[in-house]
């Protein structure tokens, strides 16, 4: 297993139980690693929720004219399923892994703004909880994850559900923008000496690109949802055609954000795969700069194709042609990535660990999803396929076959680093194959059902359309898929408790996070490494197998395994920011204020309209001010210039 043992005489492992558990150390943490873990755990919990919603939908669709669910319940389920999976699963899972790994990879001791980082996680959790609170207060949002106008106006969506949607996503949106800024600054400004942009690991590169996409794309969504909220709360009518508003404006604003969003979901995962393949091929990535810059190109192109979700809206042939052509161009940089990945494996020594299998599975399934994306990008073809199950197939091939499989790859790869334990590789492989088979059983037939005319977002369908057989297969597949997820859950829990201890570098990898113990001490690096090449650790281990790398040379560096913990001499001198509850106060306050905002024009708790709302808003604002005060006080404690004056 531990390949590195050949080179590191006695694989010293650092005890993972270094601190013992305390609530305070988690809730008030500003450590990027703990925050990363919270992200991952919460996102996984939401994955199970979103998955259960999917299972319920699939049971309903398993037979024609089924009556397992009512129409409205089904509509709530698919809305919450997609909203959950996109905003509460893949995004935070990417952010979580990024939070943990990116600072390690660039040789930093934390994110650039640790407190802001903590604010992001609690805002995200607040937003997610707010969204799910809607189930208990009269029904979850039911207008679909892209919430097309004017269905979201008060007269068609009465009640508070849509307001929950807007404000819940609003909070996670702030969290995302704050996180994006944090990543940008961390990657650009917190790199270890010698870690030039040209030597940045590709996972870090993709996180950088994605962070830019986030801060460029979210504002339009923020504006659109503010306007929607004003429509609903103050009679604004921006998206209400009956009063002079424009229904298409919502679509344009939403997809101007929504399409870049899908690259927010996939690019970090592509970054992970670009780390995993070289490690297990025991070769450097093929064409580093092509892979990096194709990510930049995808990110850029992602901003000029949004209206390919709107070919059917009558924008006219010129606009359709533009968005159609631009969308297809994305096949080129994506193809570059895929071919370079294959070339990375070519003539390598492929170690098919579970992580590697998942990475290969990712490529394999993403090819299918990408190709179906190209057919959708052809505007005439799209007119037949849009809003049919063909789109549902496409989106699951890229989201599940892409993002989720890639996240499993990343999960298996970094689990030892994060927990200090190895996952059971054998069980992992069984799970991998089960997942591959059941994934295809669940989602491949959707291509066919869609081609046979099955519209999406229908809770029931007639018998005799030829769709039953595919739907039955899909439903069976779903249960197997759920089983495979359960298997992973079992594996993870079992391994955290009693898995084999992980050494610093169980995979014989090449990036900086593997030079320090698993899990790393709170300060990460005792000695901040000096980087002299793209594969600092590899080149230190194998000075004779470096190759003709364009961007680096194996000059001697101080990169070597560190075996340290909190008690190591010198560790105490490393100043890390202190614990603080201020981010929790702030985000708690914002969440409660948001709850109040939902009820500005509605009754709640039997109180007259507005009263409860104002109460909530007032409490929220007070909490925000408490948070700001605590923030200032706590940050003074960390500043050498201010604490001395007290």
């Amino acid at each position: 297993m531990a390949i590195a043992e050949q080179h590191v005489a006695s694989a010293h492992t650092n005890s993972p139980d270094y601190e013992g558990f305390s609530w305070r150390s988690w809730l008030a943490t500003v450590d990027h690693k703990k925050i990363g873990i919270i992200y991952i755990v919460v996102a996984f919990a939401f994955f199970v929720l979103g998955g259960i919603e999917a299972v319920l939908m699939r049971v309903q669709l398993g037979a024609a004219n089924n009556t397992f669910l009512t129409a409205d319940t089904y509509n709530q389920l698919f809305t919450m399923h997609a909203t959950t999976m996109i905003f509460l699963v893949i995004m935070p899972m990417n952010v979580g892994i990024g939070n943990y790994i990116v600072p390690l990879m660039v040789g930093a001791r934390d994110m650039a703004f640790p407190r802001l980082n903590a604010l992001s996680i609690w805002l995200f959790i607040g937003g997610g909880l707010l969204l799910y609170l809607s189930f208990l207060t009269g029904g979850a949002p039911n207008a679909g994850w892209f919430a097309y106008a004017p269905l979201t106006q008060n007269q068609y969506s009465p009640g508070a559900a849509m307001d929950y949607w807007v404000l819940g996503l609003g909070l996670t949106g702030i969290a995302s923008i704050a996180g994006g800024l944090n990543f940008i600054v961390t990657v650009l400004n917190m790199r270890a000496p010698g870690m030039t942009l040209n030597r940045l690991p590709l996972f870090v590169w993709m996180n950088l690109v994605v962070s830019f996409i986030i801060i460029f794309a979210f504002p339009t969504f923020t504006v659109a949802s503010i306007q929607l909220l004003f429509d609903r709360q103050f009679g604004g009518a921006v998206f209400n055609p009956a009063q002079g508003g424009d229904a298409l404006l919502w679509q344009h604003l939403f997809w101007f954000f929504g399409h870049p969003e899908v690259y927010i979901l996939i690019l970090p995962v592509m970054g992970m795969v670009s780390e995993i393949l070289p490690t297990f091929s025991r070769k450097p990535i093929f064409g580093y700069s092509f892979v990096a810059y194709s990510g930049v190109a995808i990110g850029f192109l992602g901003f000029i194709v949004w209206a390919h979700h709107m070919f059917g809206t009558g924008m006219g042939p010129m606009a359709n042609a533009f968005f159609s052509g631009a969308s297809m161009v994305i096949a080129i940089p994506t193809g570059v990535k895929i071919f370079n990945w294959i070339a990375t494996m070519w003539s390598g020594d492929l170690r098919l660990t579970t992580a590697m299998l998942y990475a290969i599975g990712f490529i394999s399934m993403f090819i299918i999803g990408g190709i179906s994306g190209i057919t959708l990008a052809s505007s005439p073809i799209d007119l037949q396929q849009t809003d049919s199950y063909y789109v549902v197939a496409h989106l699951h091939y890229v989201l599940f076959g892409g993002s989720i499989l890639g996240l499993f790859a990343g999960g298996f790869y970094w689990f030892p680093k994060i927990t200090g334990r190895m996952l059971d590789d054998k069980l992992g492989k069984i799970q991998f194959w089960l997942m591959m088979v059941s994934f295809n059983l669940t989602f491949f037939p959707m291509h066919i059902a869609g081609t046979e005319g099955m519209p999406r977002r229908i809770y029931t369908y007639e018998a005799g359309m030829g769709w039953e057989i595919w739907n039955q297969i899909e439903t069976v597949g779903t249960f197997l898929l759920a089983l495979s997820v359960l298997m992973f859950l079992y594996n993870a829990i079992k391994s955290i408790r009693s898995g084999e201890r992980a050494s610093n570098d169980p995979w014989d990898a090449s990036t900086l996070e593997w030079m320090i113990p698993s899990p790393p001490p709170s300060y990460n690096f005792l000695h901040v490494p000096t980087v002299t090449s793209r594969r600092p650790l590899w080149d230190a281990k194998y000075p004779h197998a470096v190759g003709d790398e364009h961007g680096g040379h194996s000059k001697p560096s101080n990169v070597r395994y560190e075996y340290t913990d909190e008690n190591t001499p010198g560790a105490k001198d490393i100043h890390m920011p202190t614990l603080t509850f201020s981010p929790m106060w702030l985000s708690g306050g914002l969440t409660i204020a948001a709850l109040g905002f939902i009820y500005i024009n509605k009754e709640i708790l039997g109180l007259p309209e507005g009263i409860a709302a104002l109460g909530f808003i007032a409490i929220g604002i007070v909490m925000v001010f408490v948070g700001i005060r605590a923030w200032i006080v706590d940050s003074r404690r960390d500043s050498p210039y201010m604490s001395s004056h007290h």
């Binding site: 270890a192 030039t196 942009l197 040209n198 101007f256 901003f303 000029i304 009558g314 924008m315 006219g316």
Partner: protein, 110 residues
Amino acid sequence: MAEHVAHDDHSVAHESHSTKFYWMIGGILAVVTALEVGIFLVESSFSATMFLVILLGLALIKGAGVIAFFMHLRGDAKIFQFVFLVPLLFAFSLCLGFLKLFSNHVGIAG
């Protein structure tokens, strides 16, 4: 993106201007504003496009003045220019794209 060697300070040394210089910029911006208002008041003596072009041009000068001198983006680190001007470019294209898309109502999916 520009390649920066870690931990060297060469890009931060943006020049500090004299107080007089800021007053001058402020004065120029005030003059441009006055010009804008003046042109607005005599709107009818320009053709519509002319009016548009002049006003947009003046606004651009004002904006550029604020960004370049008050915010010191001119001469400051390249990375600041990158993280601000790129989204600004996106924003401009968003505006133009949307105005174009919403200016005609073809009504054919094609």
